[in-house]
């Protein structure tokens, strides 16, 4: 086993995990909303981009932004439907509502796009780079760069702009924010739209790695959960580090121990974390 190759694999996997997780962690941190439809939104992002490419002949580099916008609009609709329990911060109820939404998306996507695996093709997926014994693709480079750029921009916005301060204030205390003249409902919509758009971007960059199915989504995003909790809810830098960490763990555990049980192992680590430090998730 080439250790350097595994490290590269780990970084590649990790950037994917981080990118898919970022929307979820911001949403959880800012609105305390656990979005169980995240996996299905990832699936929808991939399929919208694929559909636009195959039915309308749009090229990949335009299809992905279109998917991002489409899912952002979907986010507006969803958040509008959920507004009342969000304002009441009825977190458990909201969680189950998103579970319901996810199930609707699963059925709806299967209806719309069929149940067969489809090839979501990015021109960069097959463009390989070989340096000595190690190799990766331009798609991996794009994913890594995209992840770092998105994280960088997000960090700057959250920590250096007034908009970011508004989001952080609502995350800390939505009621108090209202007294400061902040419309918390608008903030929640904005954060939810970000989540949907970010996961669509994640799908656009990561999904081309393998055939896409309307039944997918669960496997692709359960590791999101691990990244978010281990990295610290709402923490941008935390998710980046945890994402890469998890990517390296997956690559190494898979190569050294067993590739089948990596998800179980990752979740076991997560469970241990949750059990030993449940306060890590407590609403402030």
């Amino acid at each position: 086993m080439n250790i350097l190759q595994q490290l590269i694999n780990g970084l590649v996997l990790g950037s994917g995990y981080a990118l898919i997780a970022i929307g979820w962690t911001v949403l959880l941190g800012a609105a305390r909303l656990v979005n169980f439809a995240h996996g299905q939104l990832y699936m929808l992002g991939a399929f919208v981009a694929w559909a636009v490419m195959t039915k309308l002949g749009v090229n990949y580099f335009l299809a992905v932004p279109i998917a991002v916008v489409a899912l952002g609009l979907l986010g507006v609709v969803l958040q509008g439907l959920m507004l009342r329990p969000v304002m009441q911060q009825n977190l458990t109820s909201l969680m189950i509502v998103t579970l319901g939404f996810g199930y609707i998306f699963q059925g709806g996507a299967s209806r719309l796009f069929g149940g067969d695996p489809e090839r979501f093709v990015s021109p960069l997926q097959s463009a390989e780079i070989r340096i000595g014994e190690i190799w990766f693709t331009w798609q991996d480079v794009l994913t890594l760069v995209g992840t770092l750029v998105l994280f960088g921009v997000l960090w700057l916005v959250l920590n250096r702009t007034r908009v970011g301060a508004i989001v952080r204030s609502v995350a800390e205390d939505p009621k108090l924010a209202q007294l400061f003249g902040i419309n918390a409902a608008l903030v929640y919509i904005g954060v939810f739209v970000f989540e949907c758009a970010a996961v669509a971007l994640g799908a656009g960059l990561v999904a081309p790695r393998s055939p896409i199915l309307t039944s997918m989504g669960f496997d692709e995003v359960i590791l999101t959960f691990v990244v978010v909790v281990l990295g610290g809810i709402g923490s941008v830098t935390g998710s980046l580090i945890a994402g890469f960490g998890l990517g390296l763990f997956t690559a190494l555990f898979g190569a050294l121990v067993s590739s089948a049980y990596t998800t179980a192992a990752a979740f076991f680590v997560l469970l241990a974390f949750l059990v030993l430090r449940p306060r890590g998730l407590a609403a402030r």
Binding site: R162, E172, K175, A177, L179, F180
Partner: protein, 243 residues
């Protein structure tokens, strides 16, 4: 004499419990109105209801008017935008944001007709200590400093009426006087202020009018000079000394 804030028949219910029962209240322009009463009299509930705000889910009845504009049905952030600004009891600023960020959250109104726009220079003049704390997070500030920031951000919203809920809570007596005297200065310059306080003595010395609230009802009201001799106020004063 114009009235800047008026409430008529204000009632607040939590579940089956009536916390405020048919209160009429008026804050004249440029005056400082105080409200005192024992713990549980409903003072906080009342002032929160004026701002349309609560940490719970109360049922509020009655009308609230800011100048000639009705506030009924407006959510708290809209009332704040209109100039009805509340500094709540307890937590009034964000612990994870710096002083500067807390203040920057508030955007002064685009159309400040009839309202005084407090510039950052004025804020620094009023509370010079805040300049050195600009980049400190809320949780790193002392109780007194947090109150200064809380009041400052309220002033940045160019309030027509400022609602202050127990600003003295947890503050050393000297700081309490400093803060309330600063407020008095602002009132003398034209700000309208409603102050809910446990500290009856300080309130009596500085306000123009006083209300005494007992079990959700106004049991006494009047100009400060008259109220100073009201036996019920003296009782409340004694109560606040020993209670």
């Amino acid at each position: 004499m114009t009235v800047e804030l008026e409430a008529t028949g204000l009632s607040v219910r939590y579940g089956g419990n009536v916390a405020v029962d048919g209160v009429d209240l008026a804050v004249p322009t440029g005056k400082m109105v105080g409200m005192v009463g024992a713990n549980g009299a409903g003072k906080s509930t009342l002032i929160n209801a004026l701002a349309g705000w609560s940490r719970g889910t109360p049922v509020v009845r009655g009308t609230v008017r800011l100048g000639s504009t009705s506030m009924d049905g407006l959510p708290p952030h809209r009332r704040a935008a209109q100039g009805l600004v509340l500094v709540p009891e307890g937590k009034g600023i964000f612990a994870e944001l710096t002083v500067m960020e807390n203040l920057a959250l508030v955007r002064p109104p685009a159309d400040p007709t009839g309202r005084h726009l407090f510039s950052m220079e004025e804020i620094h003049e009023l509370f010079p200590r805040l300049a050195e704390r600009r980049h400190h997070k809320g949780r790193m500030l002392s109780g007194g400093e947090r109150q200064m920031v809380a009041v400052s951000r309220a002033l940045r919203a160019a309030p027509r009426v400022l609602l202050l809920d127990e600003p003295s809570a947890g503050l050393a007596p000297r700081l309490v006087y400093e803060l309330l005297e600063t407020m008095r200065k602002l009132v003398d310059r034209g700000l309208s202020l409603l102050l809910v306080e446990q500290n009856v003595r300080a309130t009596l010395e500085l306000v123009d009018e006083l209300y005494l609230l007992e079990r959700g009802k106004v049991v006494a009201r009047g100009p400060a000079q008259t109220m100073r001799n009201d036996p019920r106020i003296l009782e409340a004063y004694l109560g606040s000394l020993t209670g």
